[in-house]
Amino acid sequence: MTKTGFVGASKSVLVVGGGHNGLVCASYLARAGYRVDILEARSAMGGGAASSDFAEGYRVSGLAHILHSLSPQVRSDLQLDAAGLETGDSIDTIALDKAGQHITLGIDTLAGGDLSADDIEAYGRFKREFIGYAKALEPLMMNKPPRLKDMDRRDKLTLAKLGWQLRFGLGKDSMREFLRIGGINIYDVLNEVFDSPLLKGAIALDAVMGQHMGPRTPNTVLTYLHRLWGETHSRPSLPSGGMGSIAKALERAAANAGVSMRTAAKVQRILVVDGAAVGVELESGEQLHADIVISNADAKTTFLKLVDSSEFDAMFVHRVNSIRANGDVAKVHLALDGLPKIVGLSVEQLSQRLIIAPNMRYVEHAFNHSKYAEFSENPLLEITIPSIADSSLAPPGHHVMSISASFAPYALKLGWETQRDAFMQRVIAVIEQYAPGFGAQIIAREILTPVDIETQYHLSGGHWHHGEMAIDQLFMLRPVYGAAQYDTPIEGLYLCGAAAHPGGGLTGLPGRNAAQRVMRATEWRP
């Protein structure tokens, strides 16, 4: 079979999936002179960051509803601001309290509630210490994960920088502390540091949301660090125009870079000849050829569906098949006839990120259910009302509420078909406890369970991060070893999505790192 590329011409690239990482990766490559096409199955680019109507006149972001963690490097490299990126004002997190003693959590400040002076002081120290750890991981996040044998020069450099950061960036004491707590649970750490149950619950939520983990699950310090690491670069915000505007900006940046994009072009399979990727076949039967194929899809979709699993070695397939990537978060969208009245909360505060996780026991209990394939009786909630910042999302005077609710396990024992409403009821009932009369304000509603997310976003298991962010699925083990440096056993096939290092979130880094890997591996310079 002939490839479209020939000597002297630029290399051709097909990117499967136009989510934010696909867009980022494509833009980098196009700017470097590659000829890049993105193929997106849905009707719009942006994947989980795109916005959509859920009821007539009511519009929300599909999956992600808060912008945070976007890498400033990506932002400047791709000139996203010029492409119309408006991040909006940064928002704080408010941990709701039934009695109205809400706590506002800033980067290193605390306010509200009946917090002790000790806790307020400890919070600043804690956050600064943790942000220090998160920053120390920088060399690891901004590069391909090093292999543990047969390292190349870059791998050695990455490790050397990491070692330097740990030992001299952090200093002896902090390094020791980092090595002590890096692998354990957030529950023990928070109990060492804080008294306020609400504060501990709020931090625990950040550590477990999107994962199949409870505060007591070892690993949650690392997931929390991962989140903090993003926040050190870009503070959470609700962009005007909703998250869809981010998708639009990325799309514009890609177009500016010369990327051509096709929507409603679902890739059926990746064509492999003699162990090398040569192109893709669309659902329509159309075949497209290219020198390089980059998959923004999750690992199971890429290796078990898009490529015939017999193209890989047996153990590799077994590892992919064993990836834990079942989602635990449902997205609930509510259309409201006005702003909810949460006890003790001003309208100003309603525009912030509101969370319900009153204490760690609550969070752990919510998680307990998901271990047995049940949804949480009292779920954890992360609530935003994007229509406050962007009135175009709802009819005048009305509002939309976007809620991430955990835990809602993908493989629900009773099946989601019959349980969708029951879970939505639980979500509303929990909010009702903080905002009496809330239920009566709801005009329309929608729930996206992990199963819906799987179907609508072509994402195996419907997992936010394309796979649990557990140590055994991170860094040089993400998504599995043998495909952890963005390249795969198939020559010319690369990964660029959240399934790859450094994982989920809107950082754009998997896309950026993958593009760099492609450029180095193909040893082609424009």
Partner: protein, 408 residues
């Protein structure tokens, strides 16, 4: 919430006192094994030696031997993706294996190290039996992820006998088997004998003319009796043999046994204690011009490097058994390997062995000597014996290939 796994064996509790499982031929085996010298072969009660080892050996080489083959692990593989599955499993191309034919295969892990070897039977169109030395169900199922193929362990559901030796054809014909004259080596014949279905393959592990017979366990004793009827009439010398006689014959024929001649990849704990097909001298079984198979990428990398070691056939001079001997490169005075399996070959009057030998920089050692420890009347002595590498099997009689075979 407890669900029985699809492959659960619903047979009743084993009696914990009955360590070794009887095969379907057990009652007849007992009659032919006055020594009662049993051993375990995959958990089955199997004779090591039935009566007199030398007679058993010569039954293989000069008349006819019968051995219970039931304990060999057998797997039935069928379904739309059966061939795709098998071609991804094994290193050689089995795409052109016709129905009614058998072939020898090995399979590797991702690192290109050999997990096991065996024979693949294309029973009927799209239906296969894989015979393996070791327990492979886990690996086979693991290799089937994403494929529409059914894999059933059928070791206990198929009773098998191996009939080997120059008069095996004559014996089977006398026993009433029709159609053997046209059966070529590695061919399969489906036939009926008396009242039961019988499958015969012209295969074996002895390097001589021979057949393997496959029936349902219910027909096992009838098959046995049919085979021994001509012998009871005094027409043929037929001997039941144990694993010790087979061991002698298979080393002469140069056949390797995973687990004896090399450590299988699955059971290897220490780095570099496993072996690739190249290191086992099985280069001819590796085909890179076929669809992807497990271990291909690793083997491609290995092929680009010089040969580091190889399992070779050595004839050892003298008459002292080179058991567990160290081998030395006489030219450089270096220790280069060890003997794995060895036997005195009564038909060649020589010691023969399979040995793992290091190749320095890919070069075949020019002169190999074995350091042999042996004892005479409880006094231990050491000696040196020169070894001669043999590319061909030590023993391979042309009669094994003739069709129709000679009717002795």
């Amino acid at each position: 919430m407890s669900k029985p796994p699809p492959n659960a064996d619903l047979t009743p509790l084993p009696d914990y006192r009955q360590v070794l499982q009887p095969s379907p031929f057990h009652t007849r085996l007992v009659e032919h094994c006055p020594l009662q010298n049993w051993m375990s072969w995959n958990g089955y009660q199997t004779p090591r030696v039935c009566d007199v080892l030398a007679s058993e050996y010569f039954a293989i080489r000069s008349t006819c031997s019968v051995m219970d083959l039931t304990p060999m692990e057998k797997y039935r593989i069928a379904g739309p993706d059966a061939l795709k599955f098998l071609n991804r499993l094994v290193t050689r191309d089995v795409g052109d294996l016709k129905a009614g034919r058998v072939t020898y295969v090995v399979w590797c892990n991702d690192e290109g190290k050999v997990l096991d070897d065996g024979t693949l039977f294309h029973l009927r169109a799209g239906e296969y039996r894989l015979c393996a030395q070791h327990h492979q169900l886990d690996w086979l199922l693991l290799s089937s992820i994403g494929m529409d193929v059914s894999i059933q362990a059928e070791t206990h559901q198929v009773a098998a006998l191996s009939v080997q030796g120059p008069t095996s054809y004559a014996l089977l014909t006398a026993a009433g088997v029709v159609g053997l004259d046209q059966l070529k080596p590695f061919g399969i014949l489906h036939t009926r004998l008396r009242v039961f279905d019988l499958m015969i393959s012209r295969t074996g592990f002895t390097g001589d003319l021979g057949y393997e017979l496959w029936v349902e366990p219910a027909a096992a004793l009838s098959l046995w009796d049919a085979l021994f009827a001509p012998a009871q009439q005094g027409l043929f010398d037929v001997r039941v043999i144990g694993l010790s006689a087979l061991e002698m014959a298979r080393i002469e024929a140069g056949f390797i046994v995973p687990g004896d001649d090399f450590n299988t990849a699955e059971t290897t704990v220490r780095a570099d204690h496993d072996r690739s097909p190249f290191e086992l001298g099985l280069d001819w079984l590796v085909n890179f011009d076929k669809p992807h198979f497990t271990g291909k990428r690793a083997l491609l990398r290995e092929r680009a490097r010089p040969v580091m070691r190889r399992l070779v056939k050595l004839r050892v001079s003298g008459n002292k058994p080179p058991m567990d001997s160290f081998l030395y490169d006489a030219e450089h005075g270096r220790r280069i390997g060890t003997v794995k399996s060895q036997s005195w070959s009564p038909i060649l009057k020589s010691n023969v062995c399979l040995a793992d030998v290091g190749y320095s920089n890919g070069l075949v050692p020019s002169q190999i000597w074995a350091e042999i420890y042996y004892q005479k009347e409880l006094e231990w002595r050491a000696t040196w014996a020169e070894c001669f590498m043999s590319e061909k099997p030590f023993w391979a009689h042309p009669r094994r290939l003739k069709t129709p075979p000679r009717n002795f």
